[in-house]
Amino acid sequence: MAASPPVLHHRRHAPPLYGVIAEFENPGDLVHAARKVYDAGYRRINGYSPYPIEELSEAIGFTHTSLPLIVFIGGVIGGLSGFFMQYWIEVIDYPINVGGKPYNSWPAFVPITFEMTVLFAAFSAVLGMLILNKLPQPYHPVFNAPNFALATRDRFFLAVEANDAMFDHDKVTDLLKNLGAIEVSDVEV
């Protein structure tokens, strides 16, 4: 976002714009509008809803997340470190003969290896999700949108961001108004 978007030129004295946001009454209208806006060529768009809507993330073209890979890698690291921690301790650093069992009595190491796998994978899932989502994030421009407190109750929002290559304030506003939004408003940064 180095160069200021061309859109802002005609509203030079207004505060910088984050984007335009439209409010919808039900999930069907939101998903429908999101599809149309995406089809019109806008890419920097995002929907906001009080509960997860599978169709919505598809509609805005967001279908891939690397979270499963992160969790898999976390689990593998956990499992390996769980096993080799026990191996190193029981075989290399502190070998003790217990009932004539081999130092590398690997079946006895399975439970802790398993627990460490789950522990690391679970932390990867939670931290991975938070980091990819850039949370915690105390301030975000969409919180300035009118009625946005209802996004956690029963209202649905669609934002087109000002840094979209095609963004034109008036065109976007018209498009959203024609898609059944009950209110369309500007969101300041």
């Binding site: 509960y51 921690m85 301790i89 006895a108 679970a122 999700m129 949370l135 975000h140 109750r153």
Partner: protein, 462 residues
């Protein structure tokens, strides 16, 4: 009723189960307002203060017991050779077993796409977390020198020694601490969108700030939801084998030992089934009064009660099979010590415990075959209470009757719990309920955002 329900997509399951998963009249707005008002708007009732006060008083008993125990030593408990594990290890197993229903409801039923889990999972997870907190205290204070409990963890130290990883007791340390951590993570992740709901509904500044910080800036973005759903699903997938492993490892604490009555291969599945059995009994025990008191009949319907009763019946039958197999193994082994162990359970000095256990855990749940009983909340509550006692007796029979008479008659002995054993047990019940009362007062006890997903409005119609 049948015609009425035919076109409703949110009613699933077998035909004979006509009670809906959620009251059909609810909307996004009413679900949100009704659940969040319990935390934010409704005046805290006198009954809440009364219940909290009693729990908090009992919690003080726990603190008193622990203080005394740390100063005097675990001789304060009735444990001694040959019964070195008394009711305090029993209580550890009992509490951790109770926790298992929460994870089963939140993780396994999620993977099985059982929509009815949605109204009870938050509460059941809280129950898990609080039960595991109680469970964890017993082995720690049983160490005798609890201030050295960090010795259980492998950390580089100046003594140049390491824990012994071939022991099930070490596995237990990892299993229980992982279970507690993952349960807490799962619970917290589930709460994030609801914290945002509370942040946006709270009227007073301190609560806005508190819930705002906990919500971490959650704004319901579609991209966030997508990753969130993935994380939640993966956590459920991880918690499922985890919960099975935890009670398996708890059973190894016994099964790896060579004591007759402990050394049995059936222990892991039998312990896991017992844990789920006890856990569902506790969920019923708590939700029946709670839903009545807070008027949550629209969210936690008779459908939930029926389903939980059926899970209880099924796991109860598995546990019953476990008891029969234990007796069969004892006889079929041809080993005189094993045979004596079974004889001693049935006719020895603790025979009353054994027969009460059979009565509580095998006979009582058979009433759940009858639909009328499953529909009667009082009957269901009483059965759940009896099952909770039965599961406590089961662990008594396993831990104490197995230990008190093993191979050498010269080292036989009797075990009597002291007032401090009971103080600890009653105290942890107090602590459990203290946490539970705080939870229902300050956090949404039903997952608001998940309830929205099962509403008829949530269907996307373009």
């Amino acid at each position: 009723m049948a015609e009425e329900t035919e076109n409703r997509p949110y009613i699933e399951g077998p035909m004979h189960s006509t009670a809906p998963v959620i009251d059909p009249g609810l909307t996004f707005a009413s679900v949100t307002d009704k659940i969040s008002s319990i935390v934010l708007k409704r005046k805290t009732s006198l009954a809440w203060f009364f219940g909290f006060a009693i729990s908090f008083a009992l919690f003080q008993l726990m603190l008193l017991t622990i203080t005394n125990l740390v100063f005097v030593g675990i001789g304060l408990w009735g444990v001694n050779v040959p019964v070195a594990w008394g009711i305090d290890i029993l209580n550890f197993v009992w509490w951790i077993g109770i926790g298992h229903a929460g994870t089963l409801i939140s993780a396994i039923l999620l993977l099985l796409r059982q929509k009815w889990r949605t109204s009870i999972n938050r509460f059941a997870e809280a129950m898990t977390l609080f039960a595991v907190a109680q469970a964890g205290m017993y082995p720690i204070f049983h160490l005798g020198r609890p201030w050295l409990m960090y010795w259980l963890f492998p950390y580089p130290n100046t003594m140049d020694i390491w824990p012994q990883f071939r022991s099930p007791l070490m596995w237990d340390v990892f299993a229980v601490s992982t279970y507690a951590t993952v349960s807490a993570l799962f619970w917290f992740v589930g709460l994030i969108p609801d914290f945002a709901t509370l942040r946006d509904r709270a009227r007073s500044k301190p609560f806005q700030i508190l819930y705002g910080m906990l919500a971490m800036g959650w704004r319901g973005s579609a991209r966030h939801w997508h990753r969130y759903e993935m994380a939640y699903l993966l956590l459920a997938g991880l918690a499922t084998p985890l919960v099975l492993s935890v009670h398996t490892i708890v059973s190894f604490d016994f099964a790896v030992g060579i004591i007759p009555g402990w050394h049995a291969t059936i222990f892991p599945p039998y312990f896991v089934a017992g844990a789920i059995y006890a856990g569902f009994a506790m969920v019923l025990l708590l939700t029946i009064p709670l839903r009545r008191f807070y008027g949550l009949e629209g969210f936690i319907t008779m459908r939930h009660m029926h389903n939980m009763a059926k899970v209880m019946l099924a796991t109860g039958l598995i546990v019953g099979y476990g008891y029969i197999m234990e007796a069969f193994f004892g006889w079929y082994s041809g080993n005189k010590y094993e045979r004596f162990m079974i004889w001693n359970r049935m006719h020895g000095p603790y025979h009353l415990y054994y027969w009460s256990l059979i009565l509580c855990n095998i006979i009582t749940p058979q009433f759940l075959w009858i639909k009328k009983v499953r529909s009667n909340l009082l009957a269901l509550w009483i059965i759940s209470f009896i099952v909770s006692i039965g599961m406590w007796l089961e662990r008594f029979v396993i831990v104490i009757t197995s230990l008190h008479r093993d191979y050498l008659p010269s080292s036989w002995g009797m075990y009597q719990p002291t007032q401090w054993d009971w103080g600890m047990f009653i105290g942890t019940i107090g602590f459990f309920f203290t946490l539970l009362f705080l939870f229902i007062r300050f956090l949404p006890m039903i997952s608001i955002f998940e309830m929205r997903t099962i509403l008829p409005e949530a269907e996307v119609e373009e």
